[in-house]
């Protein structure tokens, strides 16, 4: 039997379309307009073509921020994903321990991002902070405000503390969704716990892991608040990531043209990653290979 489609439902999308037009499309068009002009004030602007793009794309400071951003995102992925799987495997599966550990793990996710930065800023201080003081007592020369390596480690550890629980929760739900019959079959075959992980749990986790990896990649690629509060991008430029580089140019120096050009470039990368994200998830859901 032929199924009929009623396209009038599309009319209901119009309000959303109007809201998105005002909140996203018109500002985006404005940014594109800014990115090709040198703007001194209302009515005083000059068309400069692709000049800002050329300047931005060849700016060594931007290359630095971009490479730092990639390095940061890959580092936290390399830590958070295996750690998240390990913790999810170690969590209790029944009894009161389940709720207790899940609530404890979810706590960092509930803390506002600027508070996370503040917590770690104080925690890592060598004079009054618990963590920093402990390291100092142990004889470690640690100062995140002066040493770039220390600043990096602090930002990475902070992100791991803040976001590994997300990976854990996703993996835990994925693990709970595996039917007991798989484990029984493995037991009958005398499979080792590594074999169970490799051939049952890991394949079943592919879907949630894809979501975890892509969410964490996107979020870390946009990270702004926590490093801004913790290190302010310093020492020097050691922890200046892309969004902070942009904010410094647009708000700090009021260079609207270059900041707009950079925003467009940043936007295109985010669009690319979002599209890859979406395509990958759709492929997994439809089971296409």
């Amino acid at each position: 039997m032929e199924k009929t489609y009623n396209n009038r439902a599309w009319l209901l999308v119009i309000p959303v379309f109007v809201i998105v037009a005002f909140s996203a499309i018109i500002p985006l068009m404005t940014v594109v307009n800014y990115s090709v002009q040198d703007i001194f004030g209302p009515g005083q602007r000059f068309f400069v073509g692709a000049e800002w793009y050329k300047e931005t794309l060849r700016d060594p400071r931007l290359h630095g921020a971009f490479l730092r951003q990639i390095a940061f995102s890959l580092t936290i992925l390399a830590i958070e994903v295996p750690l998240g799987i390990a913790i999810a495997l170690a969590l209790p599966t029944r009894g009161w321990g389940v709720s207790a550990s899940l609530v404890l793990l979810a706590l960092p996710l509930l803390i506002p991002w600027n508070v996370v930065g503040t917590i770690w800023q104080i925690f890592a201080r060598a004079d009054i902070g618990l963590g920093g003081r402990l390291l100092a007592e142990l004889g470690v020369d640690y100062n995140y405000a002066r040493d770039p390596i220390d600043a990096w480690i602090t930002v990475v550890v902070m992100d791991v503390w803040h976001w590994t629980p997300l990976v854990v929760l996703l993996c835990y739900s994925g693990l709970r969704a595996i039917p007991p019959a798989f484990y029984q079959a493995a037991q009958v075959d005398g499979a080792s716990s590594w074999a169970v992980f490799r051939y049952i749990q890991l394949p079943k986790l592919t879907g949630v892991l894809t979501i975890a990896v892509l969410l964490r990649f996107m979020d870390s690629f946009l990270i702004y608040t926590e490093p801004f509060v913790l290190t302010g991008g310093g020492p020097g430029n050691a922890t200046t990531f892309l969004s902070q580089f942009l904010a410094t140019a647009a708000v700090g120096r009021f260079d609207l043209g270059p900041a707009a050009a950079f925003s467009i470039i940043y936007f295109l990368f985010i669009l690319l990653f979002s599209w890859l994200f979406y395509t990958a998830i759709m492929r997994i859901q439809t089971g296409e290979r």
């Binding site: 018109i26 068009m29 404005t30 594109v32 307009n33 800014y34 090709v36 002009q37 703007i39 209302p42 009515g43 602007r45 068309f47 073509g49 692709a50 793009y53 050329k54 794309l57 060849r58 470039i265 295109l268 669009l271 690319l272 599209w275 395509t279 492929r283 296409e288």
Partner: protein
């Protein structure tokens, strides 16, 4: 001050967005005239016509960025390469 002054319009950007809008309307008309069929070409995923249009546009943006970032040649060459890319994706993607 003109109401649209805050958006700081220029003719090149206005033409650019009119071009995008015209292309979207054209895609809509094409879809109404002959609905798309999902198929698989040289791209590693099966795509609809709209998917290929999006991939073409996004690819064109990165072609332009690469061109501006690497060479000092005119941007028009990048546009030519992009049109070629767009045509290839739409036809064989």
């Amino acid at each position: 001050m003109h109401p649209l002054e805050w958006m700081a319009w220029t003719w090149p950007t206005a033409l650019f967005f009119l071009g995008i809008a015209a292309a979207l309307i054209g895609m809509l008309a094409w879809e109404l005239a002959s609905p798309t069929v999902q198929r698989r070409g040289f791209l590693p995923i099966s795509t609809t016509r709209g998917d290929r249009f999006f991939i073409g546009l996004l690819g064109s943006a990165f072609i332009h960025l690469a061109w501006i970032g690497v060479t000092d040649q005119s941007v028009w060459f990048a546009l030519a390469v992009s049109l070629l890319w767009m045509a290839t994706v739409m036809r064989f993607g």
